[in-house]
């Protein structure tokens, strides 16, 4: 049933109906290449401009017979190729020298020798694509399926086994009888008139309106859309294409079926000490028990800068930027006494370190927040603060 309908469609538009439009050209068929060369010479020699020779293959010497100018398409290829070389050079140079310099094998960022293969490939690529693109669109002006010659008996012979020539009715010298006489004199095997096609809306003569063809196109488009959507939005997020998100490993804060306690995270072995985190030996002991050790850090600009940074971060909220007990917390937390008191000033470094590490009264331990070295650096910085408010006479000596 459907097959019958489709067949009717086929028959309807494969039938070449006589065209009724204006006369487009008078066309003549010839049997041998010698005849067509001769015909082309005579037609161009008679001063016709709007004529063309149609052959199933390129016939040698036809350009001369038709008096054609040599083609300039070679220049397109040359310019496109040279642009390809230059653009490839520019691309590589900009990427590796300007945009993201990266060292590979200790070599300079941009390496001309290593860039030559890609410059060559892009030369060929750009030249070939530009040539073919400009050939089809600019030089041949294709696609040209609406040409009046299409689907005529004339073109059906010249794409197979005959040689054709036609003179357009628009040619300045065109006179119907003269052209016919000329073709007859040249020995044409068949002279025919080519008329413009008159296209109506819904005209089935256009081969591209074939219902099967349109069906195939729509089907292809639909399947490409569906497949592309599926691949990009579904498939790539399914295992195993899930960007390695799914891996046979335990994640923190998840349940484990493997361990008896049900935790996937493991506790370290009893007594494990992390590197750089030796426990403080006087933890929880009163001040008097602390064995006095000197500050292990030297007094340098670097250590003092570090101490200031840590002091400002961790100590200053309660003790104030200058250690005067001028809390920045506006009474939200009990204000500690000044650090410039005689008691604190007379403390050894180790005592201050002990208070930071162990805490005192309402002050908690800072052992987990501030590293050991940072604590000693804070002690040095505190000494600077103390001296700045209580400087001895000698500090004011001027040179």
């Amino acid at each position: 049933m459907i097959g019958k309908i489709l067949k009717k469609f086929d028959e309807k538009f494969l039938k070449s109906e006589p065209r009724t439009g204006e006369l487009y050209a008078v066309a003549a068929l010839f049997d041998t290449p010698d005849q067509i060369i001769n015909a082309a010479e005579k037609v161009s020699g008679s001063g016709y401009k709007k004529f063309d020779v149609l052959t199933p293959y390129p016939v040698h010497g036809m350009d001369g017979a038709m008096n054609l100018k040599p083609t300039g398409i070679g220049w397109v290829g040359l310019i496109a190729g040279m642009s390809g070389t230059f653009l490839a050079f520019l691309m590589i140079w900009w990427m590796v020298e300007i945009n993201y310099p990266n060292i590979f094998g200790g070599k300079p960022y941009f390496n001309l020798t290593a860039s030559i293969p890609i410059m060559f490939e892009l030369t060929v690529l750009l030249s070939a694509l530009t040539l073919v693109g400009s050939l089809i669109t600019l030089f041949l002006k294709l696609p040209a399926n609406a040409n009046p010659l299409m689907d005529t008996d004339f073109i059906k012979r010249v794409t197979s086994d005959k040689f054709g020539i036609y003179i357009e009715a628009k040619d300045a010298k065109f006179k119907f009888e003269e052209v016919n006489a000329l073709f007859a004199e040249l020995g044409s095997s068949k002279v025919s008139n080519i008329h413009e096609a008159v296209y109506d809306i819904g005209d089935t003569n256009n081969p591209l309106l074939n219902i099967k063809f349109i069906g195939v196109l729509l089907g292809t488009t639909a399947s490409v859309v569906v497949i592309t959507y599926f691949v990009l939005n579904v498939l790539l997020f399914l295992p195993p294409f899930d960007w390695m998100q799914r891996q046979p490993k335990v994640l923190p804060q998840t349940q484990s079926e493997f361990f008896k306690d049900g935790y996937s995270m493991r506790k370290p072995v009893e007594g494990t000490v992390a590197r750089g985190f030796m426990p403080y030996e006087f933890n929880g002991m009163p001040d008097s028990m602390v064995v006095i050790t000197p500050n292990p850090l030297p007094v340098t600009k670097k250590v003092l800068d570090l101490g200031k940074k840590r002091y400002d971060t961790y100590c200053s909220p309660c003790h104030g930027y200058y250690g005067k007990g001028d809390s920045r917390l506006r009474g939200q937390f009990p204000v500690p006494p000044t650090l410039h008191s005689v008691k604190v000033a007379n403390w050894k470094d180790a005592n201050i370190y002990h208070v930071i590490t162990n805490g005192q009264n309402t002050m908690p331990s800072y052992a987990s927040s501030i590293s050991r070295d940072d604590r000693w650096a804070i002690v040095h910085y505190l000494r600077v603060l103390q001296r700045s408010t209580n400087a001895p006479e000698s500090d004011f000596e001027t040179k």
């Binding site: 990427m95 990266n102 060929v124 696609p143 059906k156």
Partner: protein, 458 residues
Amino acid sequence: MSLDATYTRELPLVEGKTSFKEIDDVIARPTETKPNIKWFIAIGISSTALLIGAVCLGLTFWYGVGLWGNNQPVGWAFDIINFVFWIGIGHAGTLISAILFLFRQKWRTGIARFAEGMTIFAVMTAGIFPVIHTGRPWLDGYLFPYPNQHGLWVNFTSPLLWDVFAVSTYFTVSFVFWFIGLIPDFATLRDRTTSGIKKAIYTTLSLGWRGSNRHWQHYERVYLILAGLSTPLVLSVHTIVSFDFAVSVIPGWHTTIFPPYFVAGAIFSGFGMVSTVLIIVRKVFDMEHIITVNTLEKMNKILLATGTMVGYAYSMEFFIAWYSGNPIEQFTFINRAFGPYSWAYWIMFSCNVFFPQLFWFKKIRRNIPLTFVLVLLVNVGMWFERYVIIVTSLTRDYLPSSWGMYFPTMYDFGILLGSFGMFFTLVLLFAKTMPVVAMSEIKAVTEGAQPSHKHKHE
């Protein structure tokens, strides 16, 4: 054509006095008739092979490349062997269509279209392997320098990146070259067909070509320039493929002979494959008078020449290993010929160097069944050449403590089989749907096709 063909005059390219109409009829017949049982058997076999490959590939995607035999120290194995093999197959097509065109070798016209089609299918098949070799093929877009979310560009000093550019350029240029050649033939088919849908398809593909000489003029120039561009391109592609090896420091790879040696090998293997397929096609589609014995004989001569070049390269590698005085190079080559993989080496050597020497004899060159056997051996030998280069060098490099053997798995063989399935499926579909011989070109070289210019002297 009898055996006592004389070489003093140019042999006719198309045997017998064939009219243009008959040429069209013969070449267009496969596109206009229902395929016969032979074609269905052939595509049944090839698509089964393709399916096996697809299943092995699917399993590889699911479980990972651990399914393959690749392991330390052999990280490059069947994937890269197959890539180099198929890329090499492609080179014959470009050589026939471009280089022989520039040298005005008219005998190429009967086989050029087919060889170009094979180039495209071989490069498509080859392209699969570097993609799957990366292990996570869905991330392969990063191989191209585009502004991605990493803000990072590719490494332009790596031969593997040059390969990306070379192979993609090669495919693109081969494709447009092929399509440009097909336009006039599509126009011929458009004006012949009696089926509505074929008419619509050929109308679209022929772009409204009408054989105008004002078009032929530009068209021929572009064809010539494309041939000129493809010639250095084809040489560059296998040169760059050889750089993948030669730029490394693995003994047996780090040699300057690699580029010419690879190019000669590629053309050799490509001609082997073109002959293999053509011998079948001319039989199946009754084109013995278009793809003639003379053409096949000329191809056998090229096989003889390139096979000898490859043999020279094998010998020169040995000589340089000795002459360099480098004990590791020397060991590598002795290991190739007499080590655990010597069986592969001697398969390679005999198939590529010894057997093609039989083509010195004219009787053998013109004997189609024997030629068929010999070109099959060339295909086998050239696959083993890549096997020998890759596997023997990797299994035994500088440190004996890191030596190991390579054992391919059934998935490796499945994917190799699948690559043949893909190639032959595409070839069979091509032979069925498109003109496998360039009708417009073959008409131009038949006797009496060009004007005699007699009237000039009248």
